[in-house]
């Protein structure tokens, strides 16, 4: 009898706790996926920069009849640098994956505890005002002991602690990356890619200029020959492609993605702090995750598009 309120309480508590932590599942997963896309984009852009550089140097050497060797294909961005930055971003991804696991951890206990509470109450009702009512206390005590072992807020506290301990380190990594990738910084990967793509564009224009120069002494009629016209048009098309690849990436795309990653993590950390959850704060978190996702997708699409152009240029 005395246990009944506790049992009902346990049922209500376990249901509530389950719902509150589950709300993090989708946004945290989304956050982890967007981080993965950002990492892939930064890795791809770093490779794009080297590919574009090799293309520009190759065009330059071909134009000036110079030897072209292995030394002309050194990466634009030190491989150790790329490796270290990618490893840091992977670490943030792993951290977010662990958080997702905390949220998703399979928890069948509420069902068992609820069943136990219900049956204990049933027995208490059945034995009420009977000779056997003395058994209610020990049986109820046993059920109570089991229920006491169940801490329905455990996962939430693991999540809170994880965020409290992990987010500052993740933010430190992002802060360093942001500084390095900020527009104007010497290590801005986006700018390195753009500079190399611009160098390719210059070489393409120079190649077209050489065609014009070689045809300068020809008569107007000779210049109109189909093969010469085709050669000029093909050179112009290459200029157009190089320009499109250059314009595909906005200068601050990588920086913006990192900025919104930091803001989304901030919102998550602040939300998970005890008593800070509200529909409003949760909505802010969702909006930030959504913005970060959009920026990560834009960045990865641009990196892949540039990759496609530099790969096609090799053919």
């Amino acid at each position: 009898m005395r246990l009944a309120p506790l049992f009902f309480g346990a049922v209500i508590l376990s249901t509530t706790a389950c719902t509150s932590i589950q709300v993090y599942r989708e946004p945290v997963t989304q956050l982890s996926e967007a981080t993965q896309k950002t990492r892939e984009a930064i890795e791809t852009l770093s490779n794009d920069a080297t590919d574009a550089k090799i293309r520009a140097v190759a065009l330059n050497h071909a134009a000036t009849s110079r030897r072209f060797g292995e030394n002309d294909m050194t990466p634009s961005i030190a491989p150790e640098y790329i490796k270290a930055r990618v490893a840091g971003l992977r670490m943030i991804e792993r951290f977010l994956t662990r958080l997702t696991e905390v949220v998703e951890a399979k928890d069948d206990v509420p069902k068992s505890v609820d069943a136990l509470a219900e049956d204990a109450k049933k027995l208490a009702d059945q034995l009420k005002n009977t000779k056997a009512s003395a058994y209610v206390e020990p049986v109820g005590g046993l059920a109570k002991a089991v229920i006491a072992l169940y801490d329905e807020t455990k996962r939430k506290s693991i999540l809170e602690r994880g965020l409290r301990d992990g987010v500052p380190h993740a933010k430190q990594l992002i802060a360093i990356l942001k500084k390095e990738l900020a527009p104007g910084s010497a290590t801005d990967i986006g700018d390195v890619v753009k500079v190399e793509l611009k160098a390719v564009l210059v070489e393409r224009i120079a190649a077209y200029d050489r065609i014009l120069k070689s045809q300068e002494t020809l008569s107007a009629q000779e210049k109109n020959r189909a093969d010469l016209f085709e050669a000029r048009l093909a050179a112009i098309e290459k200029i157009i492609d190089a320009k499109a690849a250059h314009d595909r990436l906005s200068a601050d795309a990588a920086f913006n993605a990192l900025q919104s990653m930091e803001e989304a993590l901030d919102a998550l950390a602040s939300l998970a702090k005890q008593d800070n959850y509200s529909p409003q704060t949760f909505a802010v978190f969702l909006n930030r995750v959504s913005l970060f996702s959009e920026r990560a997708v834009t960045l990865l699409e641009a990196a892949n598009a540039i990759r496609k152009v530099t790969n096609e240029a090799k053919k």
Binding site: A63, E80, Y81, M91, R98, Y135, L142, I176, V192, K213
Partner: protein, 114 residues
């Protein structure tokens, strides 16, 4: 020193931008555009070298390496806590089920005896 490198890089960048603008403009006379290509290549090479040095320096940033390591420790601890929690939950589910069986038996017995 780092500041000097950055300043040099910035100057080279500005020079490249201006020359590229003139070179890439179809209104620039052909001979002028062609004469600009070599200085542009030299400046671009210089810029590459300056930047390569910057990336080499940045690669060994101890702050970044330390932050990544610290995050790794937190992540591993989280994994341990999840595993421990799930183990505890499994044990608890088993105990709850066993006690529930006892109570169910008691209910059945009580229905007959009491």
């Amino acid at each position: 020193m780092a500041n000097e490198r950055e300043m040099l890089l910035e100057r080279v960048k500005r020079a490249i931008t201006v020359i590229q603008e003139v070179h890439n403009d179809s209104r620039t006379p052909l001979d002028v555009a062609m004469a600009l290509v070599d200085p542009l290549r030299q400046l671009t090479d210089l810029r590459r070298k300056l930047r390569e040095a910057e990336f080499q320096i940045a690669a060994n940033n101890p702050e970044y390496i330390a932050a990544a390591k610290a995050l790794g420790v937190v992540t591993d601890k989280l994994a341990e806590e999840i595993a421990a929690h799930q183990e505890h939950m499994k044990f608890l589910a088993d105990v709850a089920a066993a006690v529930d069986q006892v109570i169910k038996l008691a209910i059945a017995v009580a229905a007959v005896v009491v």
